[in-house]
């Protein structure tokens, strides 16, 4: 077990943003043979509830930049002070450049700002925090903006009944500052790259570029769902076994790193994979269920990269000692034991797609003109 320890970075503020549109599982009776009993059973077993879905004009950067604008305003932070921008996202606006640069431009940040992306999913927020703490411990950076998010709902076919009820879209902004005071943070992270293909988008990268021969390529999964290959595949059963191997031990290791027992912890923010998985992790790790919310899944679904942030932002009480536990694509995992005293919790807001957000047609026209040298 590798433990990374830092003691001069403060997590000052967080804010989560969800798209405006949502689907309630109660409105999807048609997928349960129009049988309310079957629907009730699925809700009870998996915790299905509400999931927010971004429209085709909304990206992670749109929501994360909106979260950042609101957070900076609410906390009265001068954007010129931001000298480090980290963006954790697997669904970038463009194959290149990286989202951190796009967001830097949109937020009109200082040019003396280091901007970089991290390509991770469910474990990504912990890795983002770890990277922020590590870079800030050099003393070179004073204020970091950490943006994270994912669009697993927008990119999942809603007729895929294994994936669709599980995922919701979300993004967030976190502000961290260097502090001369003691502020302990412990990170435990790991990777099992032999499981890289357990959660995977096989098409669209350089290994198998998306082209005419692959754009409509379907495969049938174990329950007969027809899934578009370029929309991604998850081997749910394998991921479940991985999760039960890793997550309960991760909770214990993270507490051990900080020399905490469950009594010392105010909140366990566990990645909301689904209700069943989170409940199993809690039972196996033998942590008090009242300190580990599972209802966040039913309220907002599995927000992938943003999931643990959504749990934090959903809390109404002030937080002090918090354990984060995140795991998923990679396969990778990350735990953190954090002192969040004095944290500004900006809660959960909604991103309303602006009326002038460019349509697909307008964007295509824009890039054709751009190449001609005639920018809009």
């Amino acid at each position: 077990m590798t433990v990374a320890f830092f003691n001069h970075t403060r997590i000052c503020g967080i804010k989560t943003v969800l798209p405006e549109h949502f689907i309630d599982i109660d409105d999807e009776l048609q997928y349960f043979d129009n049988n309310p009993k079957k629907l009730a059973r699925a809700k009870k077993m998996m915790g299905y509830g509400r999931r927010y879905i971004a429209d085709e004009r909304t990206t992670v950067t749109d929501m994360a930049v909106y979260a950042a604008e609101k957070l900076l305003l609410e906390m009265k932070i001068d954007r010129n002070d931001i000298d480090l921008l980290i963006f954790v996202n697997q669904k970038p606006d463009y194959p290149e450049p990286c989202d951190a640069c796009v967001a830097h431009g949109k937020l009109k940040l200082n040019k003396n700002c280091t901007s970089l992306d991290i390509n991770l999913g469910c474990s990504g927020y912990v890795h983002g925090l770890l990277t922020a703490h590590a870079l800030m411990s050099s003393g070179a950076y004073k204020t970091c903006l950490l943006l994270v998010g994912d669009l697993c709902a927008r990119t999942t076919d809603q007729t895929n009944r294994k994936g669709a009820p599980v995922f919701g879209d979300a993004a967030s902004a976190t502000v961290l500052t260097y502090t001369s005071e003691e502020r302990n943070a412990y990170f435990v992270t790991g990777t099992d790259g032999t499981g890289w293909n357990k959660i995977v988008h096989p098409l669209g990268g350089m290994r198998l570029p998306l082209d005419k021969d692959t754009i409509d390529l379907y495969a049938e999964d174990t329950i007969g769902n027809r899934v578009l290959l370029h929309k991604g595949i998850m081997k749910g059963e394998d991921v479940f076994n991985f999760t039960m191997d890793v997550a309960p031990a991760l909770l214990k290791d993270t507490m051990k790193a900080a020399n905490w027992t469950a009594d010392d912890v105010d909140l366990f923010a566990i990645h909301q994979a689904n209700k069943q998985i989170v409940e199993n992790i809690i039972a196996k790790a033998e942590i008090p269920p009242e300190k580990a919310p599972v209802d966040v899944f039913s309220k907002y679904a599995n927000n992938s990269t943003n999931s643990v942030v959504t749990v934090l932002c959903d809390q109404t009480n002030p937080l002090k000692n918090v354990v984060l536990c995140a795991f998923g694509i990679g396969l990778s995992w990350g735990g953190a034991a954090l002192d969040l005293s004095g944290l500004y919790n900006g809660g959960i807001a909604h991103y309303v797609t602006p009326q002038d957000a460019p349509s697909r047609e307008r964007q295509i026209k824009y890039w054709i003109n751009f190449f001609k040298g005639e920018e809009e």
Binding site: K44, M244, I277, N280
Partner: protein, 72 residues
């Protein structure tokens, strides 16, 4: 866990109101769907420390086969 206790647990795991016995054929149950497979995986892991894969579920035909997997 006795066989009777196992059958009672399985009623809750599968969220079914059917009468279960060790001879109940899984494919005859309306509730034997992908949710039930995941719930059974979780139950075997939590209560018996037994890991299962999709291959196991293709081979298991009855409730008794699940009990056997659990070591009962």
């Amino acid at each position: 866990m006795t066989n009777e206790e196992f059958l009672t647990e399985m009623l809750d795991v599968l969220q079914t109101e059917e009468q279960l016995s060790m001879d109940t054929v899984l494919d005859d149950l309306d509730e034997w769907d992908s949710l039930s497979v995941m719930a059974t995986m979780a139950f075997l892991e939590k209560s018996f420390g037994i890991k299962t894969t999709m291959k196991d579920y293709k081979e298991m035909k009855t409730i008794g086969d699940i009990a056997k997997k659990a070591g009962l």
